[in-house]
């Protein structure tokens, strides 16, 4: 399934991006180009699916797909999907991933969940000396503070935590596979966790596919937590997990200054960044903020006509657009694409 996700991204990009573009999306690279790609091609669900994916593993998968005859790559590094690849793409399930919203933070949520669960399980068993499964000090501190804000040693508290978990995992949106993976990745008193290798052996699925289902399950779970009004503890545990600002941190700073009234040129010197970087930030603002106006970069021109003309070209490749609209700068074209090109996430095939 992992390879088919790459294939889906390649297919959607329609021979307009190089083979490294899917890599950056899957890693969740916070660059103007990648953010523009996920937005304009409707690939937000895959953003940051594997933030620590190594280039070696990615290359291995690409090579395997080439050998299987699913895709070809031309000498300008642009991948093209084959007919066989198209067919393979049909088995890719529609995943309810929401990478853009969580950006890898769902892992932090699960770390909290896992350590709170392990701790309460041991408290319940009156066996307070145990080795935490989560070694990350930041997670440990968070969990300690969270638990200390409640009477966490009381049976009532543990019971209500248990009931919240049960009620969330019962959600109709989660499949049997989701809850099976999620519950076996939790551990407690005399209940050992199950490794990916072991899950893979028992369920007869690739480890990486199980991990994709796991992240999908977490995205669904987090969605459930934010909409289920009867929950108290789990919403607190998912605080700060959803990205509240869709901008990269650096673009956020530029945007804040821009809102205070500084001009484009002033921002370049204030932020001591290259012009192209500030341009990236503006494109990001255009992509994410519906109230952001790009008019100041176009004088008195009628933008709605211009945007429609761009759309009619049915391409998002800047070089092609530049040839058709030579009077506009790349920056202007990117702004137009950002405002006019954003589309709803495409489904597979």
């Amino acid at each position: 399934m992992f390879q088919k996700i790459i294939l889906h991204i390649i297919d959607t990009m329609n021979e307009e991006r190089t083979i490294s573009a899917p890599f950056h999306i899957i890693r969740g690279k916070r660059s103007g180009q990648t953010i523009q790609d996920v937005k304009s091609y409707g690939l937000t669900k895959y953003f940051s699916l594997f933030p620590r994916l190594s280039i070696q593993i990615y290359d291995q998968n690409i090579q395997q797909m080439i050998q299987s005859g699913w895709l070809t790559i031309n000498d300008t590094a642009i991948p093209k999907i084959t007919i066989l690849g198209k067919q393979k793409l049909k088995d890719l399930p529609i995943l309810k991933l929401n990478g853009w919203l969580f950006r890898g933070n769902e892992r932090t949520f699960f770390q909290r969940l896992s350590l709170v669960t392990q701790t309460l399980s041991h408290v319940k068993a009156k066996s307070l000396s145990f080795t935490p499964v989560q070694k990350d000090e930041k997670i440990q501190i968070w969990v300690r503070q969270f638990l200390k804000s409640f009477p966490y040693k009381s049976d009532e508290f543990i019971q209500s935590y248990y009931l919240e978990i049960m009620s969330c995992l019962k959600s109709d949106n989660l499949s049997d596979l989701h809850v099976s993976i999620l519950s076996h990745r939790l551990a407690g008193f005399e209940v050992s966790g199950v490794t990916w290798q072991q899950l893979s052996n028992v369920l007869n699925e690739e480890q990486i596919d199980l991990q994709i289902y796991f992240y999908e399950g977490l995205h669904i779970l987090l969605d459930e937590i934010s909409t289920n009004k009867s929950l108290v503890l789990l919403p607190k545990m998912s605080e700060g997990i959803k990205s509240t600002t869709p901008l990269t941190d650096s673009a956020k700073r530029t945007a804040d200054l821009y809102k205070q009234g500084y001009s484009f040129e002033q921002l370049i010197s204030m932020r001591q960044l290259k012009t192209s970087t500030i341009e990236d930030h503006f494109v990001e603002m255009a992509l994410n903020d519906p109230s952001f106006s790009i008019q100041i970069f176009f004088g008195k021109e009628d933008l709605s006509i211009l945007i429609q003309q761009i759309k009619n070209q049915r391409t998002k490749k800047l070089r092609t657009l530049k040839e058709i609209f030579p009077l506009y700068s790349y920056f202007q074209l990117r702004l137009l694409l950002a405002v006019g090109g954003a589309q709803i996430d495409s489904k597979s095939s």
């Binding site: 896992s114 669960t117 309460l120 399980s121 319940k124 068993a125 000396s129 145990f130 080795t131 935490p132 499964v133 989560q134 070694k135 543990i158 248990y162 978990i165 049960m166 995992l169 049997d176 809850v179 099976s180 999620l182 519950s183 076996h184 990745r185 939790l186 551990a187 407690g188 008193f189 005399e190 209940v191 050992s192 966790g193 199950v194 490794t195 990916w196 290798q197 072991q198 899950l199 052996n201 028992v202 369920l203």
Partner: protein, 482 residues
């Protein structure tokens, strides 16, 4: 200072008696003497500074060269309810470091990795706060004759070179004269007390088996694991091999999982949990496994290769039989295995080209860390070469590195020699650490005569096989709702 040590031992640690040597070492520490303490691996070294921590008034600094070991010790202390403990190592961000350094005196136990010793902020802080004791753990790393030389460790001596420094406790499981001399002289010890225990572990019996091919080796290991009971650890050389063995042996119905640094941290914890809970009989591991696994009833350790040194071998087999009951260590090897071990041990070792590369980079005023990010040097290579280049000339560095590399190869030959000659394995291992043994146990080793069936029990087929539970049942189990 009159303290009831036995009461403290029981109250704080839950033990009713000291292990051999512990009480004498603790007494010397409390008398503010410099101490070199030699104890066999895994036999309660940490009590020797943990207990004094509850008697002495100020902070205790523990220099710990292995991050995994450090983290394990910190976890052990936390598990016992000690909150004033901190691990200060390269995993912290600069901000975390400077925040934590400011609060050093609020901690009872401060664990430092040797690299942290060269940081100015750490040095300044440590020289300004009251310290009751400095512990040099794995102190053989201070000696270039030790098997795991860590140059940064030497900085410790450079700092506490003044007369009113706190006393030092050096702990190691190496008793060779060379290393002991280096420890006491590099650390400027004042008339140190030596507490030397027998490094022999009589309940561990040694078997070495030469086989003539890798496939024979696998078959023999499979046979042994099938016939004789665990819990056991199967040590191998690479991540891939660990996964392979685990897969093949679990296909044969053995409850085994692999364990190596390439796995997610949580997965490694899960393997540990399963091993501790006796849901696994075997763990197939690289040398990443062992630290943090405090399982007393490990009955077998098997090696499928020639370890990189006698010291590492002793460390790994030392994980068997900590409960004192009979345990078996078996090493399978072929005549060619030494070549692979030499490759593994020297593959990452810097040579002349690396020295020249770093020298050029430094002379050009460039940041040497780029060499690592460009994959021109590994971190280990950079660490070793930078240390020597900042102290010695290019030529001297090259000579020295050649010598060290030769030594690494020599160590493998030493290990191989123990396997292939006809002398007692136990005697040879103990001799390596600078001791002799007087009394050998029955069934001492495969050279002296060993009946395996008298040492380990025959294996019983597991009644349990890994099955996933319905999720509701699993969550209920976690919260004991049955």
């Amino acid at each position: 200072m009159i303290v009831n040590l036995h009461k403290l031992l029981f109250d704080k640690f839950g033990y009713s008696s000291f292990r051999p040597g512990q009480q004498e070492i603790i007494q010397s520490v409390l008398n503010e003497e410099d101490v070199v303490a030699i104890l066999p691996t895994g036999m309660g070294k940490s009590i020797c500074y943990q207990l004094p921590g509850y008697v002495l008034p100020h902070s205790i600094i523990v220099i710990s060269p292995l991050v995994s070991l450090m983290q394990d010790q910190v976890e052990q202390l936390k598990k016992m309810g000690e909150k004033r403990v901190i691990a200060f190592n390269s995993f912290l961000t600069p901000l975390e470091k400077s925040t934590l350094v400011q609060k050093f005196e609020t901690y009872k136990f401060i664990f430092l990795s040797p690299e942290m010793l060269i940081q100015d902020q750490v040095k300044e802080k440590l020289q300004s706060i009251p310290i009751s004791l400095i512990v040099a753990d794995e102190a053989h790393c201070i000696s270039q004759w030790g098997y795991d030389f860590r140059p940064d460790y030497l900085r410790l001596a450079e700092w506490f070179n003044h007369s009113n420094r706190p006393p030092i406790l050096a702990l190691t499981a190496t008793a060779t004269q060379h290393v002991i001399d280096d420890i006491s002289s590099y650390l400027n010890m004042q008339d140190p007390k030596y507490h030397i225990q027998s490094l022999d572990r009589p309940n561990i019996r040694y078997a070495t088996v030469e086989v003539d091919s890798q496939s024979k080796k696998f078959k023999s290991i499979l046979k042994q694991v099938n016939e004789f009971s665990g819990p056991g650890i199967l040590y191998t050389q690479s991540r891939k091999k660990a996964d392979d063995y685990a897969q093949k042996l679990s296909n044969e119905g053995i409850r085994i999982a692999s364990y190596h640094a390439g796995m997610e941290q949580v997965d490694r914890m899960f393997v540990q949990q399963q091993f501790m809970n006796n849901e696994l009989d075997w763990v197939c591991a690289t040398n990443a496994f062992g630290m943090g696994v405090h399982k007393g009833d490990v009955r077998q350790v098997i090696h499928d290769h020639i370890p990189s040194s006698v010291a590492n071998y002793a460390q790994e087999i030392g994980r068997a039989g900590r409960d004192g009951a009979d345990s078996l260590s078996t090493l399978y090897y072929t005549r060619d295995d030494k070549d692979l071990s030499i490759f593994v041990a020297t593959n990452d070792f810097p040579d002349e080209s690396h020295v020249k590369l770093l020298d050029d980079t430094k002379k050009a005023g460039l940041n040497p860390n780029h060499l690592v990010s460009q994959n021109l040097l590994t971190e280990t290579q950079l660490r070793i070469v930078s240390y020597w280049l900042s102290r010695k000339t290019l030529g001297e560095t090259n000579t020295l590195l050649q010598k060290l590399k030769k030594q690494k190869i020599e160590e493998i030959y030493q290990m191989q020699e123990i396997l292939i000659n006809s002398s007692c394995i136990r005697q040879q291992i103990i001799q390596f650490f600078g001791q002799r043994i007087e009394l050998k146990p029955l069934n001492c080793c495969s050279k002296c005569g060993l009946k395996i069936e008298e040492i380990v029990e025959s294996s019983i087929k597991p009644s349990f096989e890994l099955k996933l539970q319905p999720w509701e049942k699993r969550i209920s189990l976690i919260f004991q709702k049955t």
